[in-house]
Amino acid sequence: MNLLRSPDGQSGLFFTAFGLIVATLALQYPLGTPARMGPGFFPFWLGILLTVTGSLVIVQSLRAESERIAPLEWRSAAIITLAIVISASLLLTAGLLIAIPALVIISAFAGRNVKILPVVITAAVLTAMAYAIFILGLDLRIPLLWGL
């Protein structure tokens, strides 16, 4: 179907859905009147506007000749996001000296032709850089290794 395969169709659906959700959520706050706007007023009308504009995007995508959306880079998206999340969770528990190598090594698998040795060297150099810049240079308070 044209709607799901074109960038316009997909984004139109996304915006419309997001607008509807926001408008619904905004209703839990008092709307007030235009003269005395409540906390829900601005987000509610933004949500409505987004729903309307999003639907227009959908209409537009149905009329125009379809352009296929680029294939989803699932691998890159999953690996990069995972690398960031894992290093964030390691940063305060295992320390900077574990979190940065983890970030570099996991994220390396998003690229093509991964070779182990260059990745390990990059990880070592970047960890040393992080230590020099953020701990020695900027004096940030980050645990280095298990709370040390």
């Binding site: 926001v22 706007m37 829900g40 960031i84 390396a108 998003a110 980050i142």
Partner: protein, 501 residues
Amino acid sequence: MDLIANLSLGFSHALEIKNILFCFVGVLLGTAIGVLPGLGPLATISMLLPLTYALDPISSLIMLAGIYYGAQYGGSTAAILVNLPGESSSVVTAIDGYKMAQQGRAGAALAIAALASVFAGTVSTGVVAAFSPILSNVASSFGSTEYFSLMVLGLVAAVILAHGSLLKAICMVLVGLILGCIGVDASSGSYRFTFGFLELSSGLEFVALAMGMFAFADIISTVAEKTGSGPAIHKITSLWPNKKEFDAAAPAAVRGTLIGSVLGVLPGGGAALASFAAYTLEKRVSREPRKFGNGAVEGVAGPEAANNAAAQTSFIPMLTLGLPSNGVMALMMGAMMINNISPGPQVMTTNPDLFWALIASMWVGNVLLVVLNLPMVGLWVKLITIPYKVLYPAILMFCVVGLYSIQNQTFEIYIAAIFGFVGYLLVRMKCEPAPLLLGFILGPMLEENLRRTLQLSRGDPWIFVTHPISAGILLVALALLLVTVLPQIRNKREEVFSEAE
């Protein structure tokens, strides 16, 4: 003369050793990332935003500005030597610059690009200094009604400036405005969209949003393809242009400066558009248009002058009206707000030292750039050979630790990871992230001014049309929208951007 007094105030700050150093760091970084095809000013400035919490506002803004116009220089170096424009604004430079390099005139092309840029930089710094106070004076009499309209104009400009579909850009602005609502509502004190996270009570962290949308999303979408082999680099022989080349370049640089200065100020204008317009103009006024595309000196000088001039004058609407005309300006505004300076016409009166120091530093930065670029061009070119494999883990490292350092907590890292993923999906759906960021920044101010205005008018929305200044601004916004929507002009606009891509 006020101007002289103001400028000397600015130079007294800009010439402090510390600020020269930050300016130097800025233009150095800017040149480096301009040369590197994998990294643009948006990602770099987002990466360095956490630093602005630690630095004083003058130094940090000077550095961030240096990155922006430094990138215009670096971009042209890569464009000329390897036909690989590091920035979208130097795409046009690659056309004739690379041809010159192939003909053994690489050095001359680089020198002309640098000289045209510094000339344009100097002139447009003067333009910024001369016009900003006037605009700022006009705007300081504005009330909330006028401000609301002004921000609408700014958002319309953001929409027009975006590539591709107008409707999608409007949607992105709206999403940004909605994200700006997160946190404690200023007037009622109630928590909006915080979903129980205490960390969200002061709003979504701007740096996390910017890093996610610009740095992380960009890595996700390009990491798989950027594993190609290194490009061929042309040797630089003589660095100096000969007299014939110089005579052809000089008037082109002047025309480029003019066109760039004007297009930079216009909302929705910017460096990429300016360089394209300058190239078209040079081609039109030339007696031998056939030279273009085969190594015409004018084709390097004009666009290079134009993109540099536009990069500088695009500061005018941001500094005087609080309206960012492009993504980089949105980030600069974010940096100011991090330092508790609310951008707008009052900046010039409340922070004159910051305002004039920034302007003076642009000139200092341009001089530094020439010194930095011409003798060290060989070194810059080596940068192109840094593989992306090493580059993107380094970007990730700086972002992750930087995000942590904002509040000494990991919450911002998770937020940025989410927006990296969402940002990638949006880019894949051909939605540009810059309008979203503009909406996010202007959102809270837009709501506040809307509330105040409607309170005064007792809920009557016609007040925006009955106040003459506000009506005028809205009319301009409407006209801009119409001009973009009209199909004929619209086609032309897409042509401009598809060539600039």
